[in-house]
């Protein structure tokens, strides 16, 4: 946990420095009677970097005892991985095969292999939810969800 705290603080400092460099390139001074585009982000970045350094110092000064691991046990880690990895796969599938095809596969895999629900429930859910969202978003609200590179569901094109 101590290591994670230090890394987070370092992450903030790195982000601030990156923004400050970019803000400096955009111009952070005064021109034509008004502050330039980089003025606000530059100073924000400077303050955030300073705060990050303080937290970093606190983290380094903290004693090594009395701090647990980032995940308190293996189950916690696996549960988080199940949610996040399937989420990433869903995104990748959306990119490749379009939202609706991806949603069918994602719902099927998640409810069956993570949730261990019964087959009928799994099949109903993985068909009904994509169809429902198709009717709601595509038809009613006229929001076209991503199509993907490969047309797996050709009637959507």
């Amino acid at each position: 946990m101590r290591k994670a705290g230090i890394l987070t603080a370092l992450g903030f400092v790195a982000f601030s420095i990156a923004v400050m460099v970019q803000a400096w390139q955009a111009g952070m001074g005064w021109r034509e009677g008004q502050p330039q585009a980089g003025f606000f982000p530059f100073w924000l970045g400077l303050i955030l970097a300073a705060c990050g350094v303080v937290v970093l110092g606190q983290g380094l000064a903290a004693s090594k005892e009395a701090v647990g691991a980032f995940f308190h046990d293996r189950t916690a880690l696996t549960s988080v991985l199940k949610v996040s990895v399937t989420g990433v796969v869903m995104l990748a599938l959306t990119y490749l095969a379009g939202f609706y095809a991806a949603a069918i596969v994602y719902l099927f895999v998640y409810t069956r292999f993570v949730g261990r629900h019964r087959w009928p429930a799994v099949i109903v859910m993985s068909l009904l939810i994509p169809i429902g969202s198709y009717i709601l978003f595509e038809r009613t609200l006229k929001i076209l969800l991503p199509r993907g590179i490969f047309a797996v569901l050709p009637f959507l094109q």
Partner: protein, 505 residues
């Protein structure tokens, strides 16, 4: 003064015509559904339905819009309280105590409290609106960018110490949020900045993507870590005693209620600010004045009443400058103003003189919509809490898909969909490392306004920050902000010695 009340009665007469009643009910139902969907808030809902609405006569359309508006506010609180996914930005603060209450099995009480306080505050504000419309709006008009910037600083200062997080981490969260809003196109000069060479980032990082990711996906990850799936659905049995209990308990919070209503109304009247900062100020004040501030965030009804009353008051307040002067007080008020313009009605003093049936019908219908959305939604509470019975392993894919869709609708690009996931991971990290999320979200919502107000102030003063301290209203706001900021530090130094933060988890 009596003239104002007479106008309101006239407006109520318009609102209660049968055709208007029907459209009012339809608006509330549509609004609630839109509010429950995290991807859609009242602003987007109103914008999406405008093509349908402007085919109706002006006053009927406006009644539909006000129903939509009220319904969406309530719907947003529902998902906020039950899932910790604020359906609308103004519902973020309702989740601070509403979600812990739902986790304790008091979801129905939280929902009842939220509906009742929104309704009562709304009613009080509609009467205030009628009485004080003109003088208040005239005073708010004298405010310039320095005053506005100071109000925003006050909103941020109110966040410090919320939920017991460390002061420095709260400040960092605010700064991080503000920096996210500077990515992309600069609002004032139109030039590009902080894009890290990415074309997709030129459009900027939007509130919706951050909030859907950090609260939606982030909360799912946290729930997964704490193994909620083994515990099954949250226990949420509803009976009417809960609702009556909530009502009785609320009567004890009348002070909180008055504070939230007055401050919310006033913040709403200010141009540009709306229900979102009001809800945070309301929550922050309730905590600050409370005899037991440590209970906030653990799931107490007062923590739901305060932001809900303030948000609802601000919603009414934000319509005040729109109707009387033609300056919308909030994004949703701006959309409603857009609708008025489509009907060929220019909001302002002339509208009040030439088309009183539109203005007062609208005000009357706001009142009617508040009543209606409270009734409909109190009866629907059992329906909403049923959602909690859905097993976690079904909730995960459902919420994930909703979050992705929400991220996508922001810009209609695959890139923002991916950003939702990124912010989900950031949100999870924030939670784990004890960085508060709410300040981040508030900063992302108000970031552009904050920067505009600061830069416009500096343009006015030719680069001197002194302008913020020499104008009396602005100075008063800043002093109040300083007190709010220093108070938690003072308490922690004077009171119990705090253990080092790292050791708490």
């Amino acid at each position: 003064m009596t003239g104002g009340l007479h106008d309101l009665v006239y407006g109520l007469g318009v609102a209660f015509q049968p055709i208007n009643l029907i459209f009012g009910v339809a608006g509330v139902i549509a609004g609630t559904v839109i509010g429950v969907i995290p991807a859609l808030g009242p602003t987007q809902g109103a914008a999406l339905l405008l093509p349908v609405i402007f085919r109706l006569p002006a006053h009927t359309g406006l009644i539909f819009l006000s129903g939509l508006y009220m319904g969406a506010i309530y719907g947003g609180s529902v998902t906020s309280i039950l899932f910790n996914i604020p359906g609308t930005p103004m519902a973020v603060a309702s989740a601070f105590d509403g979600y812990p209450m739902a986790m304790k099995g008091q979801g129905a009480r939280a929902l009842a409290g939220s509906a009742l306080s929104a309704f009562v505050a709304g009613s009080v504000c509609i009467i205030m609106f009628t009485l004080f419309a003109r003088p208040l709006a005239e005073y708010a008009l004298t405010w310039g960018p320095p005053e506005y910037f100071s109000v925003l600083i006050l909103a941020y200062a109110a966040l410090v110490g919320l939920g017991g997080s460390s002061v420095i981490k709260t400040v960092m969260s605010v700064l991080f949020g503000l920096m996210l809003t500077t990515i992309g196109t600069d609002n004032i000069t139109g030039s590009l900045r902080i894009t890290f060479g990415s074309i997709d980032l030129m459009a900027g990082v939007k509130f919706l993507v951050v909030v859907v990711g950090a609260f939606g996906i982030g909360e799912l990850l946290r729930a997964a870590e704490e193994n909620i799936m083994t515990r099954g659905a949250v226990h949420a049995r509803v009976n009417w005693r809960d609702v009556l209990d909530a009502l009785r308990e609320m009567a004890g919070y009348w002070k909180t209620f008055i504070r939230s209503t007055l401050s919310g109304f006033w913040i709403g009247v200010l141009p540009g600010t709306g229900a979102t900062p009001a809800s945070f100020v309301g929550y922050g004040m309730a905590k600050r004045f409370s005899k037991h501030p440590e209970k906030f965030g653990t799931g107490i009804l007062e923590g739901v009443v305060a932001p809900e009353a303030a948000a609802s008051s601000a919603e009414i307040g934000s319509l005040l400058p729109m109707v009387t002067i033609g300056v919308p007080g909030s994004p949703t008020a701006a959309v409603i103003m857009g609708a008025l313009l489509i009907w060929g009605l220019q909001p302002g003093p002339l509208l009040m003189r030439d088309h009183p049936e539109v203005v007062w019908g609208f005000i009357g219908s706001m009142y009617f919509a508040a009543l209606l959305s409270m009734c409909l939604n109190l009866f629907a509470i059992p329906l909403w809490t049923q959602i909690l019975r859905i097993p976690f392993t079904v909730q995960v894919p459902l919420i994930t898909l909703l979050c992705y869709i929400g991220g996508y609708t922001e810009n209609n690009t695959f890139f923002t969909m991916g950003m939702v996931l990124v912010f989900g991971l950031i949100g999870f990290l924030f939670k784990k490392m004890d960085y508060p999320l709410a300040p981040l979200v508030v900063a992302v919502v108000l970031g552009n306004d904050t920067e505009d107000a600061l830069r416009r102030s500096l343009i006015m003063s030719h680069g001197s920050f002194g302008i913020l301290f020499t104008r009396p209203t602005s100075l008063a706001m800043l002093l109040l902000a300083a007190i709010l900021f220093v108070l938690p530090l003072w308490v922690s130094i004077r009171g119990r010695p705090q253990p080092p933060k790292e050791a708490t988890r």
